[in-house]
Symmetry: D4
Subunit: 131 residues, 8 copies
């Protein structure tokens, strides 16, 4: 319903805007629409950034990366080129909840070592892209 407002603001006819948006959706630029929720208000008090070292093997970054991505609470997995192999962002309700999630990671035979950095304070967390 902000479509009318947006069309006015941009100074283009509503139908043109509608057409362009549909095209962005079709091209995969826009992947969906959703509500931005505040994690803290939903009780997610434990935010962790985990540095993961994996065991080497063929195409290990794909295999291991996907397994990590499947763990509940894990919302970002980056394969990086540095001292660690993956940087993983995890959200949990509290320490106990986090311990369960970390346990799932530690159990994986592919994982050599993890180093958890607890976010003591979130100064910014806004993945929206400004265009």
């Amino acid at each position: 319903m902000p479509l009318d407002n947006l069309a006015k603001k941009l100074g283009v006819p509503k139908s043109t805007l509608h057409y362009r948006i549909k095209r962005l959706e079709r091209d995969g630029v826009i992947e969906g629409y959703y509500a931005k929720a505040n994690p803290l208000k939903l009780g997610y008090d434990y935010v962790a950034i985990v540095l993961v070292r994996a065991k080497y093997g063929p195409h290990y970054h794909e295999r291991v990366g996907r397994k990590i991505a499947a763990v509940p609470g894990v919302w970002a997995v980056y394969y990086v080129l540095g001292e660690y192999d993956f940087i993983v962002l995890v959200r949990a309700l509290n320490r106990e909840d986090y311990m369960h999630k970390l346990e799932r990671l530690s159990k994986m035979a592919d994982i050599e070592r993890t180093s958890t950095q607890i976010a003591a304070k979130i100064l910014k967390e806004d993945p929206r892209i400004t265009v």
Copy 2:
């Protein structure tokens, strides 16, 4: 417009759903609505996780954290308790664009050292909270 569908799926009257959503917005649980865009399709080819060491001082984590958060391209800033002080997520169009952003960080007198981890592959990046 998914409101009708959602009401049907959850099995509650549309008005009840509307009321609850409005309350979540009022309480700050829902912060807004937006389209989830695919960064790669928008040309953002450079994703970096920067580990930052700051110089110590009174309330330094608030002061320095906010300055880092103000740099364009920086979309997450976490103050952590570990060998580094901040973990910062940055999005850039390409290496040159990233170098400009990194230059802005390096120039800050409060920053002692940064260590950039380039994400060679993004296996998952979905900050949406499953409820």
Copy 3:
């Protein structure tokens, strides 16, 4: 026998104080009473903080943590989230005594590496909780 004094100081009847203390004992808040000894005067000249890395496996932190806790001289075992897995506090009579204790730790198949930090000087060691 300080019960009389304590009752006077707090300004409550001795019986009330007695009742409250019994309740704290029953709830597990007070675990016991004992004499605080000075370790140095008892000949414990070697104080070490050992950083331990364990091998990963299911629920490893419980299993390995308990085995470490069972070694004589080990009086604190913390499972931490960082570059190391456990931080262990050990008390020994002298270097030779410490070497025996360290040998017991090193022999465990679950332990990958230890790093001993000898306390050259104890500036404070008072685990009593101020209420």
Copy 4:
């Protein structure tokens, strides 16, 4: 009042035991008597081991060590010979409380860097010396 029991158990007359205990107190071996409380039940949910690097200077380990020891919540300070200078044990009620304590440490001009290790689980914490 366990004096009677203890005398029976050790098989020595109560007066002898009383005499020996008084002598231990006079020599500083016994520093006092107190109740061992369970920190978790008292609400102390945040246990941290902080590795501290200080700036070098004359007798710095004494000066800086004492300043650290004076921070509320800090119950042990060890000056060690390794990559870090001090290992500090801190007890706090929760993350916010811990952040205040950490702020006091970070503000000190003598302190170069701290690295906090949060104890995710305490497998043992018993400073009583077995004799």
Copy 5:
């Protein structure tokens, strides 16, 4: 064809110069002649310095070093005495191309770990020896 110019510049007869050059070739001092190309202009946008840790074994530095040297894109392999075993210089067209090359390195059973340093900027790269 620079031979005439060079002879004039050095002030020696062309035949003497020709003789000396042939002798340098015969002794292996001069290994060949070639055109110095500019890698950037040829599309080689990804320059990486990889720090490699290998698994120990008899004459491992020879064996493993040669296998690394055989990977396309690898143009320098140094066996060093430090925290890492080999420092490897790699040239690739882009990130995807680099990922293929890194995959070939990671797959080797002899390799324990690699740490890639992406050259964000080349300030100098001139292996010619000034005589």
Copy 6:
């Protein structure tokens, strides 16, 4: 004089080849021609890879990078994104010669720390680009 041979091998007329080479020179793809010398035979026995940490400041990577590049013996300077700032390749005749070059680096006020990795063995060093 290999022009005739090269033309035959590629199966193009000599004049076409000549024209193309001139164009590559004009476009900066070919920067020059020279003899590839064997450093060992020329007495260069000391090959070092130096990891350099610089002090941060505006555009420091350009300023400091150029100063490092100007030191005799330094033949490659890469500004990298990692724990170190620059990776520098140095060639020297022997340890004494290397010490003079390292002294020039250490003296720079912009340089915080260097870590030298001596190449104990060169398994490959061929910067020529295969086309």
Copy 7:
């Protein structure tokens, strides 16, 4: 033959001095007499301090320590409590000679990793004890 001089200097009769020296020899305080040679003049140009990490096992520090001590050129082996397990001092004629000695260390199944620090300059090396 310095016995006469030493006796005069100390102001004791020669026979008393002789008796005391014999007693020191018998008690193992004096282990022998020898000439202090200058290693550099004898061609020992390569001095290295090797930091060694061993694999853990029962009494590993004795077993592995002795094996290391048996390698020619190794003149000191210290079992230390830190990030590494042994600090080893090695003397070699040149780099090639050192590489042979290092090869012998690397081959041992008990050794996990070594890190060589080449002494670029010896500012002092005098193990004689001043009494």
Copy 8:
């Protein structure tokens, strides 16, 4: 007085041996003669290897190296090329004595950081050169 024996063993006349030894002394190969004492029996119970980081400056390795060498108890100082600048060997009577020596090192304005490795066990310490 072992001269006679040595001459017999080597199968050369005593005068020839005497002449050669005098020449080695004159050339500086032999620097003197002394008794090898056992440090442990002399009460030197604390052996430490200190890794030192110094502040950079012109010819710093000479200046700072000599200052370190002047500290009593320091018997070896090596300037190395690695993560640290100097490796220093120290001998002390006990921990208190060592603390005094370490204090002298820490006070130096040129020294940035030290990391002490206490030798828990000496498996070998014999600087004599086998010829």
